[in-house]
Symmetry: C2
C-alpha cells in the first residue's frame, strides 16, 4: 500500500485552525502534518483544544522555514487552490488526487495555504498538480479544516480502515415464510368478501403479493405480521 | 433531475454551528435547511456571522417542533449517526446516499442530531436508512458542520454545477519540435565529448531522449529549453 500523504499547512495563521486541521486529518486516518512558517510560532497553545483529541498529530508536526524544505522528501506535490490565471499545471479533484496518491510510488504531499489568502503563486509553482475542490461557483467558501477534511476523506476511501460498517440486518424471510403470510392474508380477505367481483380477484391478489413482497421483511417481521393477521381474524371478544 | 435533499438539524444547540452548517451546505449547492426545536430559539444572532455569507440559507430555514413535522413531505429519510445496537435498518455511506438521492423520486431529507449527543433512538426510528460516514475507528470526531459538508459534497458530485474546472494546459510540443531540441542537445554533448566510450553512445542517447520526452513540454517550453541550450553552448563571454 502507498504511504499516506503529508498535509502541509503553508504559513497558517491561527493556532485554532491548525488544531482543527489535525482533527480533520485524524478522522480519516492521516497523521503527518508539516507546518511552514506558522505565523504565531510553534507550538501554539490554541491548537491543542481545537484538535479535540488529535493531539498526537500536533505533537508530531514538523516545522519548516520554506515550502521547499517541507516537501524535500516528497515525490508528488499537490497545491490546493482555486485555479489561477496563467498557471498551466494539471488540475485534479480530491477524487483524482486520492487515486493518484494511492497508485503513486514515493510520498505525496498536499499543500494548503494561509486562511485568508491561500497559496501564493510561488508556492503553487513547486507543485506538480493543482488540487481544486469542485464547489458552488456562486458560493465558494471552504475554510482550511474543511478543505483538509474533504481531501482526507477522499483519501480514506482507498484504505481498509475506514470501510463502511458491516450491516447486520436480518435477512429477508424465505419465500416459504412469505407465501405462508400471503396465503393467510388472502384467505382472510376471501372470507371477508374482499375479492369482488370474482374476475378481478387474480389481479387483486397479484397486487397484494407485490405489496407484501416489497418490504423484504425478515422472518421475525413476517411472524409478527402473521400474528397481527391472526388477531384481526379472530371474532371480536369485546 | 431529482430534488436536492433537505438538511434537517434536530435540536441543534449552538447558533454558530447552525451558521457553519449553512455555509457547508451552500458550498455544495444545498439551500434548504430545516430546524427541529433549536435549543436557543430561532432566529439566533450567532448563526449569521458563522455562515460567512450563506445568510439566505438561514433566512429561508423553516422551524418545526418535531422531526415528524419537519419531514412530513419527504419520501426518503436518512438519519446521520454511528450505527447503534439493535437498530436494523440499512446503513449507507455518503456515496451510497448520494446515489440513492439522485435516483429517488420525491424529496429526500437527511437528519443530523444535536452536537453533543447526536440523534436519539426515536429520531432514528423515523428514518428509512442510517447514514454513517466511514471514519477512523480509533478517532471518530466529526462535528456537525463537517458531517454536513461531507454529505453535501458527495451529493454535489451528481450535479452539473460543481464539475471540476476546465483545464487549459498547453498541449505538448510536436514530435518535430521535440526532435529539434533533442538533436540540438545531442550535438552539443557530442562537441563536449560526453558520448564516451563511442560504443555506449546509442544507449546514452536513448536514455537522453527518454529523459527529455517524459516532461511532455509544450512548444513554448521546448523553445525555452532550446534557448537555454543555445546560451550554454556559446563561448563564455565573461
Amino acid at each position: 500500500m502507498s504511504q499516506p500523504p503529508v498535509i502541509v499547512l503553508v504559513r497558517p495563521q491561527l493556532g485554532q485552525n491548525i488544531g482543527k486541521a489535525a482533527r480533520a486529518m485524524l478522522n480519516f486516518g492521516l497523521t503527518e502534518m508539516r507546518l511552514v512558517a506558522p505565523r504565531d510560532g510553534w507550538p501554539n497553545p490554541e491548537a491543542g483544544p481545537a484538535a479535540s483529541g488529535a493531539d498526537f498529530v500536533l505533537e508530531q508536526a514538523q516545522v519548516f522555514e520554506t515550502v521547499a524544505d517541507a516537501i524535500a522528501d516528497c515525490a508528488h506535490v499537490y497545491a490546493t487552490t482555486v485555479r489561477k490565471r496563467g498557471i498551466t499545471k494539471p488540475v485534479v479533484t480530491p477524487v483524482e488526487a486520492a487515486h493518484e496518491i494511492h497508485a503513486a510510488q514515493g510520498r505525496s504531499a498536499i499543500l494548503f495555504g494561509p486562511e485568508r489568502s491561500g497559496l501564493e503563486t510561488d508556492d503553487v509553482a513547486v507543485a506538480r498538480s493543482i488540487l481544486t475542490v469542485p464547489i458552488n461557483p456562486e458560493f465558494g467558501s471552504l475554510n482550511l479544516a474543511q478543505a483538509v477534511i474533504l481531501v482526507a476523506y477522499e483519501w480514506s476511501k482507498g484504505v481498509g480502515l475506514s470501510q463502511p460498517p458491516a450491516v447486520d440486518l436480518d435477512p429477508p424471510a424465505s419465500q416459504f415464510e412469505l407465501d405462508g403470510m400471503i396465503e393467510q392474508c388472502d384467505a382472510m380477505l376471501e372470507t371477508a368478501g374482499y375479492f369482488f367481483p370474482a374476475d378481478k380477484a387474480p389481479a387483486t391478489k397479484r397486487m397484494l403479493r407485490t405489496l407484501l413482497t416489497k418490504p423484504g421483511w425478515s422472518n421475525q417481521e413476517v411472524r409478527t405480521m402473521r400474528g397481527i393477521l391472526t388477531i384481526l381474524g379472530k371474532p371480536k371478544s369485546r
